[in-house]
Symmetry: C2
C-alpha cells in the first residue's frame, strides 16, 4: 500500500513536469514568433508547433492520465492545493479529450500562422485577405466548443467559461447593461464637452526619441516593481505578457516616435500583468495554476495602468524625471496639464488607446459581435460592416480603415473568442479592489512617496500569489466581502469624469 | 500489404515530426537561454528543459521506434535519402538507448544551468567556482561514452566520432603532427619578427559607437548572403549559430566599444555558419540531417571568416563604406594598412581572436588537454595549470587570468568534449575547398566585383545543400577528388605569411 501510494504520487509528479515542459515550450514558441522569428519562418515552425501541440494533447487526453487521476483522487491526505490542481488538470483534460487529434493538430498549425496572416492583412489594410483564415478559425473553435457543450449550453457560453469560470452570457448581459446604463449618459456628455473644448494634449505627440523612450520605460517598469532579474521587457507589434514561470516573466511594449503616451501605458499595463506573474507562489508556478484567470489578470494590469498610472499622485514624484529626459517637449508642461492630458476622454476607434471612460464601450462592441458570430447570427463576411456600425452607435465614430477597425486586435487571429469580456470584468474588479484597498491604506500618500512596494505587497498577498487557483468571484469575496459589483467601477468613473464637466 | 506499407510510412513520418518538434523546442530554449532569458530563470527553466530532454530520450530510445525501424528497413523502394536518414536516426537511437533515463535527465538539467555557472565564474575570474560543475559534467560524459564504447575503443574516440564520423585519436594525432611540423617553425619566425616590428593595428581599437557597429555588421551579414527574411542576428556573450530549420537561422555576435575587429569577424564567421544552414535542401532541414557535421560546418564559417573575409579583394569594394561610417577613426587608414592589420599574427591567449596562423595551436592545446582529461591522466583540479603550461609551450604566452585562460570557451560547460578538433579540421577543409574552387572560378575577381552570390552558389551546390547527410571525407572526395589533406592548409598559410617576413 505504501509503495503503491508513493508510486502514484511519483507518476503524477512526472506527469506534471512533462505537462509543464511541453506547455512552456509552446509558450516560448509563441513568444518568439511575436518578438523575433524571421518573417519566412512561420510555415515550417508551424509544423513543429503542431507536432508539439499534438504531443500535449496526447499527454492530457491519454488513457494513462485517466487511470492516474482515478488512482490519485482516492488517495488520502492530499492537500487542498493538490486538489485544486487536480481539478484544473481534469478541466484541461476534459477540453482536450473531446477534440479529435487531427482537428486539434490542424487548429494548432493554423493559429501558428494565422497571427502572421492577420499582421500582414493589417499592414495592407485589407480585411478580405484575412477573412478566410478567420472563418476557418471560427468554425474550428465552434466545433471544438460544441463537442463539450452541456445540453442547452450555447457555444459562446462554453468559450466564456474557459476564460472565466462561472460567467455566462446571461450574467454578462446584465453586467454590460448596468455599465451602459451607468456610463452611456456620462460618456455622451463628456465627449460633447471635449468636442467643444478639446483638451490640450498635443505635447504628447511630438517627436520623442525612441531610444530615450526605451530607457524611460525600462526604468518605469522597474519603478513599478517589475523585477528584471526575473523578467524581460521586449518589443512587439501588439504588447503582451507571457511567462515560462515566476522567475521568467516577459512583457512587451511598442514604441512610436510621435507618441509618448502609447508606450508608457502599454508598459504600465503589461508590467501589471508581469508583477502578477512574478508574485505567484511556488506551488502554483510551473503548473496549470500558474499565471491567473483572465479577468483577474486584467484587473491587475488595468489597476496599474489606470488606477495607479493615471493618477496625479503616481506622477508627482516621477514627472520631473520625465521632463528632464525630454526637456524640449515637456519643460513647459506643468504636472497638472500632463495629468489632465493623460486622463482626457476621446471618442476613438482603437481599444488599446481608449481612455478609462470609453474603454468598456470598445468591449461591448466586441462582446455583441462575438455573441452573434458564435451563434451564427453574424457571418465573417458581414463582420466589418457590423463592427463599423456599432462603433458609430456607441462611440459616434467609425474607423476609416480596416487596420483601425476590425483588424486592430490580435485575439480572434489566435482563436480567442470570448476573451474580450475579461477586460471589462477586470476593470470592474480593479475598482472594487481599489475601494477596499483604500479602506486599509492611504494609497495616494504611498504613491506620492513613491512607495509602490506597499501597494504591490497588498496585491501579492491578496491576489497574485494564488495564480489562477482562485477565480474572480472567490477572490473578490475574500478581499472585499462582496461578489463582483460594477457599481464601484461606475462610481469611480463618475467621480473622476464629472469633475471635468 | 499495401495498407501496412503506407501505415509504416505514416508512423515513421509522425515519428520524424515529433522528433523534430522536441529537438526544435530544446534548440529554442538553448537560444533563449544565451540571448535573452533573465538571470534568475535558469533553475526553473532547467526543470522544464530536463523534462523535455527526457521526452526526447523516451521517443528515441523507446520500443516503439525499435519496432518501427525494423519494419521500415525491410520496405522496398526507399530512396537513398531516406536510407541516410534512417542511418542517422539509428545512430542517435543507439546513443540514447545506452544511457539510463535518470542519468540523461540529470545531465540535461546540469548543462542547462552549467552555462550560467561558467559565465558567472568567468565574470568573477574564478576557475575554482566552476571546477566542481565541470568535474560533474566530465564524469557524466565519460560514463555515457563508456556505455557504448566498442571493445578497445577509448572514451575520447567515442566522443570524437559523435562530432566527426570516422575520426579517431590516431587519425587526429597524425593530422596535428603534420600541422605542428608544417607550421611551428613559421609561427616562431613570424612572431619573432612581429615582436621586433609590431604591426600597425592600434586604429582598430579606438572608440567605435556600438550602434554604428550594429548597423554595419547587419549590413555586412546581408552582403555576405545571409538572408534576414529567413534569419536573425542577435547578441550574446559568446557568438554562436543555431537554427530551427532552414527558414529560421539565428546567429549572434558580440560588440565591444573599443574593438572594431572583434564583432566584424565574429559576424562573418557566424554568417558563414548561417549561410550553410539557410542553404540546406528541403529534404534535410527539420530532420536529424539538417545543419551539418561539425568539421564541415566549421570549414564554411572559417572559409567566410578567413579565406574571404581577410582577403584584400573582399574589402576592396566595401572598405570605403566602413571608412564613411567611421571617418574619424579610419579616414586616414588606407585599404592596404587595414588589410595588413586584420591579417597580423600575434601570440595571443584567446582562441576566438586568434589569427589564422596561430589558430590551430589554440586547438592543439585543447586537443591535448581533452585527450588527457578523458583518459584520466589529467584531473580537473590540475587543468588550469596544464592549460597555462601548454600556452607557454606553443605560443610563448600565458594567460593572466582564468577568464582569458581555461574559462574562455563555453564548450566544456555544455559538455562538448571532442568538439575542438573540428575547428582545425574545418580550417584544413576550407583551404582544400578553396584550392579546388580557384581552379573553377576566379575567386579574387568575384570578390572585387562584390559578387558573393557566385561563391555562395558554389558552396551551396557542393556542400550546403547536403546538411549533415555527408561527412567531411565524403564531401572532400566528391568536390576535390581527394580525401582530407592538411598540406593545402599549410601551403595556404605559408604563402600568406612568408610574404610578410
Amino acid at each position: 500500500m505504501e509503495e503503491q501510494y508513493s508510486d502514484v504520487r511519483q507518476k503524477f509528479s512526472d506527469f506534471l513536469e512533462r505537462e509543464n515542459a511541453i506547455r512552456a515550450a509552446l509558450t516560448l514558441f509563441d513568444w518568439d514568433n511575436e518578438t523575433l522569428a524571421p518573417e519566412a519562418a512561420s510555415m515550417r515552425t508551424a509544423k513543429a508547433y503542431g507536432a508539439l501541440s499534438s504531443a500535449y494533447q496526447e499527454l492530457l487526453a491519454g488513457d494513462e492520465l485517466e487511470e492516474l487521476l482515478l488512482q490519485i483522487k482516492v488517495l488520502e491526505g492530499l492537500s487542498p492545493e493538490k486538489r485544486t490542481l487536480l481539478w484544473r488538470v481534469e478541466k484541461e483534460r476534459k477540453k482536450l479529450v473531446s477534440i479529435p487529434p487531427e482537428e486539434y493538430r490542424r487548429f494548432s498549425e493554423l493559429t501558428a500562422v494565422s497571427v502572421q496572416r492577420w499582421s500582414l492583412a493589417k499592414k495592407q489594410n485589407d480585411f478580405s485577405a484575412f477573412a478566410p483564415v478567420l472563418e476557418e478559425i471560427l468554425q474550428m473553435r465552434k466545433a471544438f466548443a460544441s463537442y463539450r457543450a452541456e445540453p442547452g449550453q450555447s457555444i459562446y457560453d462554453v468559450l466564456l467559461s474557459d476564460y472565466e469560470e462561472g460567467f455566462t452570457t446571461k450574467k454578462l448581459d446584465r453586467f454590460f447593461e448596468k455599465l451602459k446604463e451607468g456610463l452611456l449618459p456620462l460618456v455622451k456628455e463628456v465627449l460633447r464637452k471635449n468636442k467643444e473644448q478639446p483638451p490640450n494634449c498635443g505635447f504628447l505627440f511630438q517627436n520623442f526619441d525612441v531610444d530615450k523612450q526605451r530607457h524611460w520605460n525600462k526604468w518605469l517598469a522597474a519603478y513599478l516593481g517589475f523585477q528584471f532579474s526575473r523578467g524581460v521587457l521586449s518589443e512587439s507589434e501588439h504588447p503582451f505578457t507571457t511567462s515560462l514561470h515566476k522567475d521568467d516573466v516577459r512583457i512587451t511594449t511598442h514604441y512610436y516616435k510621435n507618441n509618448l503616451e502609447s508606450a508608457i501605458f502599454s508598459t504600465i499595463h503589461e508590467a501589471g500583468h508581469g508583477i502578477f506573474e512574478q508574485g505567484n507562489d511556488d506551488w502554483v508556478t510551473q503548473t496549470l495554476l500558474g499565471s491567473g484567470t483572465c479577468g483577474v489578470h486584467e484587473s491587475q494590469s488595468r489597476f496599474y495602468e489606470n488606477i495607479l498610472g493615471r493618477s496625479r499622485a503616481f506622477w508627482k514624484p516621477i514627472y520631473g524625471k520625465l521632463q528632464k529626459l525630454f526637456p524640449d517637449q515637456l519643460e513647459k508642461i506643468p504636472l497638472d496639464m500632463f495629468v489632465r492630458a493623460i486622463n482626457r476622454s476621446e471618442a476613438g476607434v482603437i481599444r488599446t488607446e481608449a481612455d478609462e471612460l470609453t474603454y468598456c464601450l470598445h468591449i461591448i462592441v466586441r462582446y455583441e459581435l462575438e455573441k452573434k458570430l458564435l451563434s451564427g447570427e453574424l457571418t465573417v463576411s458581414d463582420l466589418e460592416e457590423a463592427w463599423n456600425r456599432l462603433y458609430e452607435e456607441y462611440l459616434g465614430v467609425a474607423p476609416n480603415t480596416s487596420a483601425e477597425g476590425v483588424l486592430q486586435d490580435i485575439h480572434w487571429a489566435m482563436g480567442e473568442f470570448g476573451y474580450f469580456p475579461s477586460y471589462a470584468l477586470g476593470n470592474a474588479m480593479a475598482a472594487q479592489i481599489y475601494v477596499q484597498m483604500s479602506r486599509e491604506m492611504d494609497v495616494e500618500a504611498l504613491l506620492e512617496q513613491g512607495n509602490l512596494d506597499a501597494i504591490t505587497g497588498y496585491l501579492r498577498t491578496h491576489i497574485h500569489r494564488f495564480g489562477s487557483s482562485k477565480g474572480m468571484e472567490e477572490l473578490l469575496l475574500e478581499v472585499t466581502g462582496e461578489s463582483l459589483n460594477p457599481t464601484y467601477y461606475i462610481d469611480y468613473l463618475r467621480k473622476k469624469y464629472e469633475r471635468e464637466l
